[in-house]
Symmetry: C2
Subunit: 491 residues, 2 copies
Amino acid sequence: MSKNITKRSEDYSKWYNELVVKADLAENSGVRGCMVIKPYGYAIWEKMQAELDKKFKETGHQNAYFPLFIPKSYFSKEASHVDGFAKECAVVTHYRLKTGEDGKTIEVDPEAKLEEELIVRPTSETIIWDTYRKWIESYRDLPILVNQWANVVRWEMRTRLFLRTAEFLWQEGHTAHATEKEAVAEAEQMLDVYADFAENFMAIPVVKGFKTENERFAGAIETYCIEALMQDGKALQAGTSHFLGQNFAKAFDVKFTNQEGKQEYVWATSWGVSTRLMGALVMTHSDDNGLVLPPNLAPIQVVIVPIHKTDEQLEEIREEVKKVTDQFKKLNISFKFDDRTTFKPGWKFNEYELKGVPLRVAIGPKDLENGTFEVARRDTFTKEIVAKDDIVTYVQDMLEEIQSNLFNKAKTYRDSHITEANSFEEFKDLLENKGGFISAHWDGTIETEEKIKDLTKATIRCIPIDRKEEDGICILTGAPSKGRVLFAKAY
Amino acid sequence: MSKNITKRSEDYSKWYNELVVKADLAENSGVRGCMVIKPYGYAIWEKMQAELDKKFKETGHQNAYFPLFIPKSYFSKEASHVDGFAKECAVVTHYRLKTGEDGKTIEVDPEAKLEEELIVRPTSETIIWDTYRKWIESYRDLPILVNQWANVVRWEMRTRLFLRTAEFLWQEGHTAHATEKEAVAEAEQMLDVYADFAENFMAIPVVKGFKTENERFAGAIETYCIEALMQDGKALQAGTSHFLGQNFAKAFDVKFTNQEGKQEYVWATSWGVSTRLMGALVMTHSDDNGLVLPPNLAPIQVVIVPIHKTDEQLEEIREEVKKVTDQFKKLNISFKFDDRTTFKPGWKFNEYELKGVPLRVAIGPKDLENGTFEVARRDTFTKEIVAKDDIVTYVQDMLEEIQSNLFNKAKTYRDSHITEANSFEEFKDLLENKGGFISAHWDGTIETEEKIKDLTKATIRCIPIDRKEEDGICILTGAPSKGRVLFAKAY
């Protein structure tokens, strides 16, 4: 089996599109802009969900579920929110179909028109704050720390699997607090949760930062983000956490009685990550041979392939393998023993390479004689012969080693692609010839930000949380600046 | 705090509606027919999901995700399916809104009309079989054993929380097989999975059976179901599994090459349970004091309430409690130590009774002296004083005892409410004065089934899988019958 995937160096974008489909992660559906997430891709998403859900619960959050539909009028209530979200969206206008005159086709029943159109949620702040009004009376009802796992729809004209689809899956946290300080602390805490998850679970290094006013979530006072860098030098926003102030509380009249008996508006946050992370995963670690998965996210961590000529050999192999996999089960190492006889070992090697299985263990007649296994790493392509008594410990250690190697490799790449530019010429040259994050001074105005975007397609990805104070001049206007921001072309 | 819930004997339906809201399970939203599932209710649903998901995976299924939207034309492809599902549904006709002339309100942009309307999925057979066509070429690609956790929408005119809502959450399994035999076996296996789950996890006894032709899923050759009995004598369909034959394969042209190299249509099943199970849970076990939850489903299995006058006492209690809860953690017993001083113990007792927490442990100054705890059961209201050295074992045993007690209690009620009727008079009398399942002979025709429904509102819930062959005559028409079926009024 030839993989037939375009090389990254030839056409990175094509490589991505082909890999997502060939590795069985997702594919386009018959519905414009909507994807099918295939079992192998969904198994990875489930691992992300499980880990995030655990982290949310450890930080005191509970899950709940709010309606898919939002009455159109809700969007008019928060002025900036409507511009950001209610424009490109799926609108439900009718609630019935009827059989056409030919008795076969079906058509919309004009008599079943809704009084008020319903919007398929693009994000749930409005419906949730309309609900919170009923839940909150006094400071005793606060904080509310709720998360929702859901599908959302944003009518995108140009879609790409995982990166930009009309429907996608995500989680959206929505919290309500008695004080500004507490809400800000929550938004910052969730940013840390996301950064920890990205780096220590997905092996994707991220920069934590603030969005500029221009790039903020519609309705937010402050948007925090984590920004990752893909192998082609383009940035990808991997998660956001918003401090919403009292905007939604005011729009939906959500007040509480404080400890002094006075009425106050409630403070809010929201935060989310989505199936976009699947795209970040692919573009951070994978190579021309297919997916490369960090062991934490691999549906199959170890694949075991028997190499045999006779049925007796296969039986012998099976016995040896069982001793090992019994240990794997106890250690929660996920494995697959692929003893199908309909496919040759070489075909299988290729297949699991494409699917990004971190470790491949092969065992043949020679191994039986010598009491060994051959273990191959997906990330480095190195192979070792391991004695059967050592195999379990070896695999266990190696999975950890691969997890940290992938992070370190990505971090080395990312760190070497944060470059300072001190003039607009230098900036353009770096963008053109090197890519990555460009750290540069900016005068703080929306006008300059947009002009740079028009001229170069680069946007301000974030103002890093840990940036140094440093006097400088804006690369475009020469106006004074107090510190650098990170620019990049982005997904 | 008074619970203020209507008594079941006064108005069962009102009792249910009030309890669901007051116990914080769910509430109506601002969107007609759509509910908000509150954190406490959602925590119960998550436990159901986790258990079902485990069972699905143990039986070889994988999760995947298919689009929310289905092009209208897909529904015309399977003739019986369109009548069943595509009529009362949410129809997306536009993909954009614009700001109105007042600059504030927003309205549908008439220029953004979709070429083909999209239906919000009421069930996913059509979109999934449209996808399977691309996945299946040869017998080697079969079986496909896929499940999806998703939201679906059916435009119901009269809605009730959990029982009948426009949007609900569910899982839908969709499998593809090479042979009829294998597909039938799959449909039957999943029925068994559901029955096992209902009885051994939810403590809800169920009858396994077949649906009559009239009550079959639109597009199915055979619909298997599990039927439960609520405390008011009405039945509730708790899960269905469908053998779909080759209907969807033919509608979507899904063929495979068999081992002999010949083209054949693929065989299908689908099966699902939904948030409706939350309604079944409430109406099987709960009482006039509030929810009663089987320990398997209780978000909090044990609540511990301190009774103290001084801070020193509370400190002492805290120490004793910690020793116990450390053990609970190791044993995966979920607990809450409610040491809030803003609420009195009596208020808390009431609250946790309403929420259905299976065991309440109280500890006061006297218990400190005596080295004891007071343990109260939610299901029987019995209390016992337990020595602190025995408390962990006692709680562990008691949780098992409550789980089986609830099942036995429900089963005794259910078994005593399956009554044979041998004439239509007897049938009507039983329906009127006793309720429950009525086991009666029926002549096997749709006409009789519908006539009985018109006359009594009772429907055939199922033809029990294990029914005896027995010659008899139809209660309505006197025509011959080979065995009894179960009638009931139903949710």
